[in-house]
């Protein structure tokens, strides 16, 4: 069965091809069947392969399938090969399974849309590219997938391209991530030229042999890779594109900008963890970036009024947690939070989408209200998602995954009390803004009018995701609870000794106290949200009506004014330069070359005059030259 691995990305690709070529002529039902079905089959296959992988692990807990060699010239030998290990298995499972649920949901959500088949074609292509990214065995495939998902993200953010704002958002996402991608590409070149192989595993191996820990090469390479990772994952300082990316249809936000693509940066760092282990300073930087981002984005989420933007900022903040985990060497905790986050954030987005759909594209939470009674299933599933996001103790998966991160942020070698406190403060704000959303949008007085209720095709994915969001946490419990560490045991096959050396110098009691603190903090956050936004909203209004308050609100609403900063620093100077160089000085060089060649053409044209005697003379002339050269040299 493992040998069917190649089919996992191929199936969505086939779906993409079919929809691309024939989608226009198909009925919407057929488009839905092919679009969701191809990903569904891929998910099923991934599960079967995953089961076999877990039941009878291949040697070294990794399976590599070489499909073919692209070409081989002078020792350069790029292979088209997929690699399945615990890390890529978890990523691929989440991508296909959550992807399938979102595709299913989209059948209902996008049903009215006139570009129904284009939507599914692009979504299928995205799933394929994401799978290439996580399954690729070498940097080349990784890069293909990385850019492929970037392209799909661009296409899908600008899906409703008739609206200029959407196109601007798409361009912003593409250009900002490009900054990181360029750094990453340079990092890849550096790795390939220094270590002489494309294969990721060989790279890690050779880096360990050739580079001293903390050496300049390792620092440079990891810094460049980190550039790509922060771009893709919306971390400081390249986080500005993600809130605007919400311009795309909500299923897109759920799949690409919450569950899968934006975590590609986390995957990249986890995949190259051995390199980061060689550069402790950069690894610490990862943790700092994560901590700062989770705080900054958490603050911004507090004041947003657009439900999707709240979720977008919370995504940035949650990925900040993953970075924090990676930064302190808790690789498996970071991946665990990736998984639970994929479930509950996809759930939150889809439930928010159901609300938006029902209210006829209303996204402002202050125009919602009282939806709990009108849309009960959506409310309960949203509540479960919100509980996970706010990491309500004991019952939600978010608690277990976030708790693991907080614990390692405190106790591991790379951790410190400051990182732990940042994470804790972030958790506090998370539960405030999460339940602010719940209280304002779902409780209180009804304000909007329900246009259409979500059908079963939209509700089933919600329920399945709610189930996963609640229970996926129980496969990995804290050490002091019970010896259930299925997830980290699985991950250890990839990360080996890294990240788990810190268990000895820690006590169960300390861990318990920290857990208790974290739990209480999130509950206080919920209570604060209750008092501030449901029971007595007048206090908040009073604060925000003061000059300082309204300034702060605007400042946070605009995401700490990063856009304005970048506009002043980069965009405007660049635009000014572009305006100065309207005629394009560089172009004149190429135009000159072009006219030079054109002139060459006209100068040469006369030799083809069609006269045989002239042609024969050419022969004779050539003969004379050859004779001369051969005889006299």
């Amino acid at each position: 069965m493992l040998s069917l691995l190649w089919l996992v990305p191929t199936l969505p690709f086939l779906g993409f091809l079919i929809l691309l070529l024939f989608g226009d002529r198909m009925t919407k039902t057929l488009v839905g069947i092919i679009g969701a079905g191809s990903v569904g089959l891929s998910a099923l296959l991934t599960m079967v392969i995953g089961y076999q992988f877990l039941a009878s692990p291949p040697p070294d807990h990794a399976f590599t399938q070489v499909l073919w060699t692209w070409f081989e010239v002078g020792g350069f030998r790029p292979e088209i090969a997929f690699r399945l290990d615990a890390l890529s298995l978890v990523m691929a499972s989440v991508v296909t399974f959550v992807g399938f649920l979102i595709h299913l949901y989209s059948i209902g959500y996008m049903h009215e849309d006139s570009s129904f088949s284009r939507f599914f074609a692009e979504m299928n292509l995205f799933v394929c590219m994401m799978l290439v990214l996580v399954l690729g065995d070498n940097l080349l495939l990784l890069y293909v997938g990385w850019e492929g998902v970037g392209l799909c993200s661009y296409l899908l953010i600008g899906f409703w391209y008739q609206e200029p704002a959407n196109c601007t958002a798409a361009q912003k996402a593409f250009i900002v991530t490009r900054v990181g991608d360029t750094a990453m590409a340079i990092g890849f070149f550096l790795l390939v030229t220094q270590l002489g192989t494309l294969q990721v595993q060989d790279l890690m191996h050779k880096a360990g042999e050739m580079w001293e820990p903390g050496s300049g090469m390792a620092v440079a390479a990891t810094l460049l890779l980190l550039g790509g990772a922060v771009g893709k994952s919306g971390q400081l300082p390249l986080q500005t594109w993600l809130p605007d990316a919400m311009a795309g249809p909500t299923p897109v936000s759920a799949l690409i900008h919450a569950a899968t693509m934006v975590t590609a940066g986390v995957y990249l760092i986890a995949r190259t963890h051995a390199l980061f282990a060689l550069a402790p300073s950069v690894q610490f930087l990862v943790a700092v970036i994560g901590a700062l981002t989770l705080l900054l984005a958490g603050f911004s989420a507090l004041v947003q009024t657009d439900i999707k933007r709240i979720l977008a900022y919370s995504t940035i903040s949650q990925i900040g947690y993953m970075f924090l985990a990676l930064g302190v060497g808790a690789w498996s905790a970071g991946m665990f939070h990736f998984m639970t986050h994929a479930f509950f954030k996809a759930l939150l987005f889809l439930a928010a989408g159901a609300v938006i759909h029902a209210l006829h594209h209303e996204q402002n939470i202050f125009k919602m209200g009282g939806l709990a009674k009108q849309l009960p299933v959506v409310f309960w599933t949203f509540l479960i998602g919100a509980g996970c996001l706010a990491s309500i103790p004991l019952i939600t998966s978010g608690f277990y995954s976030k708790d693991a991160i907080l614990w390692y942020a405190f106790s591991s070698e790379g951790g410190s009390i400051w990182l732990w406190m940042a994470g804790l403060a972030g958790a506090f704000f998370t539960s405030i803004y999460t339940f602010r959303m719940v209280f304002i949008a779902f409780l209180g007085e009804p304000k909007g009018h329900i246009h259409h209720r979500p059908g079963p095709v939209m509700l089933v994915p919600l329920v399945v995701l709610a189930f996963l969001a609640l229970f996926s946490g129980f496969i990995e419990l804290p050490h002091n609870f019970a010896p259930v560490q299925m997830f980290s045991n699985l991950m250890d096959t990839v990360f080996h000794s890294h990240g788990h050396s810190h268990e000895e110098h820690s006590s169960a009691a300390l861990e318990g106290i920290l857990q208790l603190t974290a739990g209480i903090v999130s509950l206080i956050g919920v209570a604060a949200a209750y008092f501030l936004f449901l029971k007595d909203p007048s206090k908040v209004e009073k604060i925000s009506s003061t000059p300082a308050g309204s300034f702060l609100q605007g400042f946070l609403l605009r995401g700490w004014d990063f856009d304005r900063l970048y506009d002043t620093l980069f965009v405007n100077p660049l635009m000014a330069l572009a305006r100065i160089n309207k005629g394009d000085i560089v172009d004149s060089l190429y135009n000159g070359l072009a006219s030079l060649t054109q002139m060459g053409h006209y100068r040469l044209k006369w030799i083809q005059n069609g006269a045989v005697r002239w042609y024969a003379a050419g022969l004779a002339l050539g003969a004379v030259i050859l004779l001369g050269v051969f005889i006299f040299t």
Partner: protein
């Protein structure tokens, strides 16, 4: 003559039999399908026999003809190309009236000439092969008897090829006078050791170089190319572009191998200049050209210039680079001319670039394939042309032939400028009434379309498997070719 000799000569014998069969068939009953079928059968059967024959290789049949894996590989290449030309010709002539069957007769004989060339180790067989290859071509070029340009092209080709043959013969005579031998390896040996008197020897080589340059259309012997390409019927053009040039390249490659993979320094300089001139002349002339067949003619001039780079760079990669580049070039050329033949109808061939505008909307498959072939000619990644160019660059960089590499880079850029606009042309909806009939693609027969498609598949899917370790057969052939000397 023993049985091994017979086996080794089987390709030639089979093609002779096929020629006689076609001749008899024509005299008993004129049937276009029968003639084409017999020809295709002859080529296929011969092609399929090659692996069996490789068991007796290397085997010299008489001192003038050597059957070895090198020759067999190129025989296979030429036979496959000839088969494709047969299919093209069938599709092409099926829509035309008049005597068509003789074309296959000529095709068979000319292909036989190619097979003689790739096995030749002696001046005599070189000459016989070259003439056998060329003489039927004169008629094939002028086969559209009622078209003025076709006849004009035939006449020009006849006159100029006659001149080049004269140079060849005189060169041979000089070589024989200088060395007293007509055997390649003997001549080369004497040339190296300096036993022979140097002036007649060098003069002889120079004159032979003229003939080779003429066949390959290297500057300044290239002048005939555009006129002949344009005037000849599309199947003939594809034959001239592939089989004729391929056979000549094989001869060059064999000489190169016999010389031990070394080219004397004096020769390197002049050939470098010719290569660079060919690249620039071909590309520059093609630049503003509006006639597709002329564009392809000019582009073939520059491609042969590129090919020389691989030779000149020398070293162990050269054989591999030349072989790969040639194969890719042959496939792509056959494909492009195949598309032209495919889109031709009774009124003529779609010659001007405008005829192709909006092609995508009339015949998406042909437009897609045509674009693919053109992209491959330009050397865009994922196509055979790219890997071929990669080989050239690798070979050149390996030997620090920076001038050649520089010209290659510049010319690749000009080539790029040249070809993709054609692809764009396919998609633009033309407001002008196009010369080509919308149903043209449908009318001109399935075989042509089938083989065009086959070439397309080869380009996209065949290539990833070509590079060395993944294709042991080809590699072995090359290696044994290399070691058999």
């Amino acid at each position: 003559m023993n049985s091994a000799d017979i086996i080794a000569l089987l390709p030639l014998i089979l093609l002779t039999l096929a020629t006689i069969a076609v001749m008899l068939a024509i005299s008993f009953k004129r049937s276009h399908g029968l003639a084409a079928g017999l020809t295709a059968l002859g080529f296929t059967a011969t092609f399929l026999l090659l692996p069996a024959i490789s068991r007796v290789a290397p085997h010299p049949v008489t001192p003038i003809y050597l059957v070895d894996t090198f020759g067999l590989f190129f025989s296979g290449l030429l036979l496959a190309a000839s088969l494709v030309v047969t299919l093209l010709a069938y599709g092409y002539y099926e829509t035309r009236s008049g005597f068509r069957e003789e074309f296959y007769l000529l095709l068979l004989m000319s292909a036989m000439g190619g097979l003689v060339l790739v096995g030749s180790t002696h001046l005599v067989s070189l000459f016989i092969g070259l003439e056998l290859l060329s003489v039927p071509l004169y008629t094939m070029v002028g086969f559209s008897r009622t078209a003025r340009r076709s006849l004009e092209a035939a006449l020009k080709y006849l006159v100029l090829a006659g001149v080049s043959s004269a140079f060849l013969l005189f060169g041979m005579a000089l070589l024989f006078a200088a060395t007293g031998s007509m055997d390649f390896s003997r001549i080369l040996e004497m040339g190296r050791s300096g036993d022979a008197s140097s002036t007649p020897l060098m003069a002889g080589l120079a004159l032979i170089g003229v003939a080779v340059g003429f066949k390959l259309a290297i500057v300044p012997f290239h002048l005939w190319t555009p006129d002949v390409y344009e005037g000849a019927p599309a199947p003939t053009t594809s034959f001239v572009a592939t089989v004729s040039k391929g056979a000549m390249t094989a001869v060059l490659l064999r000489l190169y191998l016999l010389a031990g993979g070394v080219i004397p320094d004096s020769t390197v300089t002049i050939f470098s200049i010719l290569a660079i001139l060919s690249m620039f002349t071909g590309n520059l002339l093609a630049l503003m050209q509006n006639n597709v067949k002329r564009v392809l003619a000019y582009s073939s001039i520059s491609h042969l210039g590129y090919l020389l780079v691989a030779f000149l760079a020398g070293g162990e990669y050269a054989v591999e680079a030349v072989t790969f580049y040639l194969t890719a070039y042959m496939v792509t050329s056959l494909g492009t001319f195949g598309i032209i033949a495919l889109l031709s109808d009774r009124e003529g061939e779609p010659e001007l670039l405008q005829d192709y505008s909006g092609l995508f909307w009339r015949n998406p498959v042909a437009a897609g394939l045509f674009s693919l072939f053109l992209l491959s000619l330009a050397g865009i990644p994922m196509t055979a042309g790219f890997i071929g160019k990669f080989y050239l660059f690798a070979a050149g960089v390996d030997h620090s032939a920076w001038l050649l590499i520089g010209s290659l880079v510049i010319n690749s850029a000009i080539g790029l400028f040249l070809l993709p606009p054609d692809c764009r042309f396919h998609v633009c909806r033309s407001r002008r009434k196009s010369h080509t009939n919308p149903s043209a693609g449908k009318r001109s027969g399935k075989p042509a379309r089938a083989d065009a498609r086959f070439c397309g598949y080869f380009l996209v899917w065949g290539l990833p498997r070509v590079p060395d370790s993944s294709d042991p057969q080809r590699d072995n052939r090359l290696n044994s070719a290399y070691h058999s000397f």
